[in-house]
């Protein structure tokens, strides 16, 4: 039993690390502009699908190059999305902007369907498939890549917002856009950075997890929803809370799938989300917002 639990925990952390990256992407854009970017899941899909496309077949690029390009392509998509879909709607209400992101996600999924079709693809594991045994539990090398990669990303983001002037400038835009503009911050550029960074995190999640979960043109839908749920769970306004929410959601799902029934794992995750929203609307780690008047 203990070994089984260990196995569930390891799986949960791997899945949770993916959710955490997606949730972090949500939280960054939300923090910078109050917008929930529902195209976040598509970043994950585009990252994974372009990595597959670039590395597949005889003429395929070597894996590291393909991964790098896939991530860059996704960042490009994120920046273009901001520049040509979000920025022109500046001054529109937050709800309008969110609807634009939903439209963008449908559009991106449509393009992926046209380019890659409906097939399901797998990316080869980065460093082999030889399982690692921990007691009775097993772990694939790719699980370590996911955990390690996600851990590094999270630390990097934490450092970016806490210890670089650009990171602080992005935060300043979220807090008071006019004041930010007047102390010389190029608000438009900061929004591009926020979307680029979120797309980067999404793409990293996509390429890290694609060898384990496979990918297809619509793989971003469920991951986007789970990432969103995780961000809400942890507290949308708090990036590190979103990360914790992601890990928590992954663990809850894995444990409930193992101990109760895998048929209920998605449902249990969402029920817990609803409970949290009911009792702590600002999320587990969000601070209740206080407007100063």
């Amino acid at each position: 039993m203990a070994d089984q639990i260990l196995q569930f925990l390891l799986t949960g952390i791997t899945v949770g690390a993916t959710y955490a990256l997606v949730a972090l992407g949500f939280a960054i854009i939300y923090n910078a502009s109050d917008v929930v970017n529902f195209a976040q899941g598509e970043f994950v899909m585009i990252g994974a699908m372009s990595a597959v496309a670039l590395s597949a077949g005889d003429g395929g690029l070597p894996m590291p190059v393909a991964l790098l390009l896939a991530v860059l392509i996704t960042v490009g998509v994120g920046v273009l999305l901001q520049r040509f879909a979000i920025a022109p709607a500046r001054g529109a209400s937050v709800v309008t902007t969110i609807i634009i992101t939903i439209g963008a996600s449908i559009f991106l999924r449509g393009v992926a369907l046209l380019v890659w079709g409906k097939d399901i693809f797998a990316l080869p594991a980065f460093s082999g498939d030889a399982p690692i045994h921990i007691g009775q539990a097993t772990l694939l090398p790719q699980n370590l890549w996911v955990m390690g990669g996600a851990g590094l990303m999270v630390l990097g983001v934490h450092w970016f917002f806490g210890h670089t002037t650009i990171g602080k400038a992005v935060l300043a835009c979220s807090c008071n856009r006019t004041a930010a503009h007047l102390v010389g911050i190029n608000v438009g550029l900061m929004m591009l950075i926020a979307y680029g960074l979120s797309a980067f995190l999404g793409a990293m999640a996509g390429v890290l997890v694609a060898p384990i979960t496979f990918t297809s043109y619509d793989a971003g839908v469920m991951l986007g929803l789970k990432g969103f749920a995780a961000a809400i769970l942890g507290g949308m306004g708090n990036p590190m809370g979103a990360v914790a929410g992601g890990l928590l959601l992954g663990l809850i799902e894995s444990l409930s799938a193992g101990l109760i029934s895998s048929g209920y794992k998605d449902a249990i995750g969402f029920v817990i989300l609803l409970l949290v929203l009911f009792f702590r609307p600002s999320g587990l780690f969000g601070r209740a917002s206080v407007e100063r008047v």
């Binding site: 210890h163 002037t165 650009i166 400038a169 807090c175 503009h181 010389g184 100063r292």
Partner: protein
């Protein structure tokens, strides 16, 4: 030398003309005050000078360059900085971070070169920290460095906003009612701070309702009434201007006689 040159400036909101055909020159190195009754258009003037509002007509030359149409962050980069009548702080950040964000322009030389070279980012951060601490100590705020902005009393926030504006490295600082809501001690401190800023070579454009403060601190004063120029001159000239006394100080003068 003239630092700021305003000509024929006009701005209406629907039927209300907030500023009408206004012109004035701000000489470099002085404290230049704009006074006028509530609704005279002082804040509207500031909002045009800092690029938040676009004037209907007129021109604004800063160091000889037309600045109308520039985005606010471009104006800040040219050396135009401001504080607000209603505090506009980054309340979710620490005092130090609030001011460091103001240094962003001066240290963030090449954004992308910095983003690609880690040492560059670290150096930039260190430099911003140094500049921010300097601005904070200038405004006598060292004690509060690590506190969150939303935990501070109003008088401290007023000075914090000034520290942030100074961190931008301005040539011209626009201050909208810096003494509003301050007690007498704090007002005296504010007066001293304004003079210190001016002595640093930063030209100050001041909007303030506290007449005592304005008269003591200003080199020149512009009096606005319904968005137009009523009078302009030294504090002594303004105090003795018949039109100003009638329009602005009217009630008080009658009682005093």
């Amino acid at each position: 030398m003239t630092l700021l040159e305003v000509q024929g400036l006009t701005k209406s909101f629907g039927g209300v003309t907030a500023i009408a055909d206004l012109g004035f020159d701000v000489p470099e190195g002085q404290v230049y005050s704009v006074i006028g009754p509530n609704g005279a258009g002082k804040t509207t003037l500031f909002n045009m000078l800092s690029g938040i509002y676009h004037p209907d007509e007129g021109s604004i030359h800063f160091q000889g360059r037309e600045i109308i149409g520039l985005q606010p962050h471009k104006m800040a980069a040219m050396g135009l900085s401001r504080t607000f009548q209603n505090l506009q702080m980054f309340f979710n950040m620490s005092v130090l971070d609030n001011v460091m964000v103001g240094c962003h322009l001066r240290t963030g030389s090449g954004l992308f070169s910095a983003a690609l070279r880690l040492p560059g980012v670290v150096r930039e951060e260190r430099e911003a920290r140094r500049l921010a601490r300097e601005a904070l100590s200038f405004c006598d705020l060292e004690r509060f460095v690590d506190q969150r902005a939303d935990a501070l009393p109003y008088g401290v926030l007023k000075r914090l906003e000034i520290a942030r504006a100074l961190a931008v490295g301005p040539k011209l600082l626009l201050m909208d009612e810096p003494a509003a809501g301050l007690n007498d001690t704090e007002t005296a401190e504010m007066q001293r701070l304004i003079r210190c800023i001016c002595e640093r070579g930063i030209t100050v454009l001041l909007v303030e309702h506290n007449m005592g403060l304005v008269m003591r601190v200003s080199d020149r004063i512009l009096v606005l009434d319904y968005g137009t120029r009523l009078a302009e001159g030294t504090p002594l000239e303004i105090q003795n201007d018949r039109r100003v006394i009638e329009a602005y100080l009217g009630g008080e003068v009658q009682y005093a006689v």
